[in-house]
Subunit: 316 residues, 2 copies
């Protein structure tokens, strides 16, 4: 019978595989990437892959490399994101770009992308390769969108949801879906699990964007309001801009460098923007839970329910 | 009977495929990548793939996507290189990073990498996927080396050759090799062609490094001495540093911002560094020619000989 010990054992194998995948000639790069891996992270994507696979014929030797590859891709996108965002810290430790410079960080990200592809190629998974390539292209597309939408105060909820669907939810969906597919689940079940993954991903990103306002800097592991400071307007601001607080919000955005975002935080609270954001996150959580209810009973269903329920209360 | 018209026709199909592969949501990105494609480039890598395939059973519908994918990977590495080098122009037009900013350029490179993988995945070529992933990981590894070796005046010929083997020759070798392999050439012939590709690649990069000193800025399409200015010491400088001109070379390097590299250029000429560099390029060209002689007679052999012979006289 599978339980949370099972998950811990499988995830520890993923950690081993992550470290193994980093073999590179440069000692400095290896150390920096190792530090990045050891700084933790929630490992949500590999967790989803493992859980997805429990719905079929679970084979550890197949699932672990798959789960590792989705985490590596996630790491690669984070490294490139940190270059773009000039980020100094992540998960409480120095980012690769801050430790090794942007130059090396560009290649570190590329290196990790190809490492992930190598893992998948080793499993001779052409279909997964296609899905993964498509997902990464979509992630890039949406990151480019996000860049183009910077400082755009007319960005709306629809555009925001589209953006986070690409930059976060697509990989969540793929992570659980490939696990299920590789374990031999039928198309209907795999699609259902992918759909749950997508909704968890959207809720996850909305909660992340809430934490950028209300989180504890130490727990979150990076400076607060970093998105707003970069001109990336997330849901709390979008709602605030679309309320009677519009003028106040615009002023608060202008003042961000002066007051460190204090007025903006006040704005998104008083305008109800933050509350509306929480409601929307809740809507996606409920959606995910509803689809989960229709899954066959067992460990997988319970584990997914637990993950979904953790989202609204998470602190980092 | 295949001739140079054949090559022109096949390469024009590659151009069509290149443009098709750029479908992205962002109009700005699409335009910038299109401009990059239309600015030309020698298309040496796809040419090698096409020629490699003529040694077997040539199927245009198979070769063209392969040839396109190696050029896309090359483009992706150029876009990321230009971020690292802060380059403003390439092939006489603005670089993607200069036109769209480093942020978007990071994702443009990632986007192109995945596009290339998608093309290959569509052909269900697991082996090629592995080879390609390995080659890209190697390219990254050597670019990281190059970054770590910046401003290092003790870098020697061996390290230099290792570096250019990764950053240039590996993809040349792969380009011709996959063409041959996909056309059903046996292992021995494929290995021979890959070896020719590797030697052409090394010679090509050495000539590139010579042109960074002696080329015409307009013809080359980018500012001269750009490597030295970035602290990347290529062969002419390495030889100069390892001659009786050592002290003079060190001084000339220190003066580069003041005099635009005039003293350094004088140094590499007078020390014989430039001549020795040309000799080494010639050595690799002769090596490539020698292996080529042992190829079966026909269009492919002639085309490769022509490409090799063009290297020493090329101006860009």
């Amino acid at each position: 019978m599978k339980n949370n010990d099972f998950l811990a054992v499988e995830l520890s194998k993923v950690e081993e595989h992550l470290l193994k995948a980093l073999k590179t000639r440069s000692k400095m790069v290896k150390e920096s990437l190792e530090r990045f891996i050891k700084s933790g992270g929630k490992r949500l994507r590999p967790t989803l892959t493992i859980i997805g696979a429990t719905f079929g014929d679970y084979k550890s030797e197949v699932v672990v490399p798959l789960a590792t590859s989705v985490e590596i891709i996630h790491m690669a996108t984070l490294i490139h994101d940190d270059i773009v965002d000039d980020a100094e810290t992540r998960r409480g430790t120095r980012t690769v770009q801050s430790a090794l410079g942007k130059n090396t960080a560009v290649y570190c990200g590329d290196f990790l992308f190809t490492r992930a592809f190598m893992l998948i190629a080793d499993m001779a998974e052409i279909d997964m390769m296609k899905d993964l390539s498509r997902a990464i292209a979509y992630i890039c597309d949406c990151e480019i969108d996000q860049n183009e939408q910077k400082y755009d105060q007319t960005v709306n909820v629809r555009k925001y949801l589209k953006r986070i669907d690409g930059k976060t939810a697509a990989l969540f969906s793929l992570s659980i879906g490939v696990g299920a597919h590789k374990a031999g689940c039928d198309k209907k079940l795999t699609a259902k699990l992918s759909n749950i993954g997508r909704n968890i991903g959207i809720a996850f990103q909305i909660v992340d964007d809430i934490l950028d306002f209300t989180g504890n800097e130490k727990t979150v592991g990076k400076p607060l309001l970093s998105d707003a400071k970069q001109g990336v307007y997330t849901l709390p601001i979008i709602y605030s801009l679309n309320s009677s607080y519009k003028e106040k919000t615009i002023k608060a955005i202008e003042m961000i460098d002066e007051d460190g975002g204090e007025s903006l935080l006040k704005c998104v609270i008083e305008s109800g923007g933050l509350e509306r954001t929480k409601s929307l996150a809740n809507k996606f959580i409920k959606k995910a839970l509803k689809i989960t209810e229709s899954l066959p009973d067992g460990y997988g269903k319970e584990a997914i329910t637990e993950i979904i329920n953790k989202q609204l209360e998470r602190k980092f």
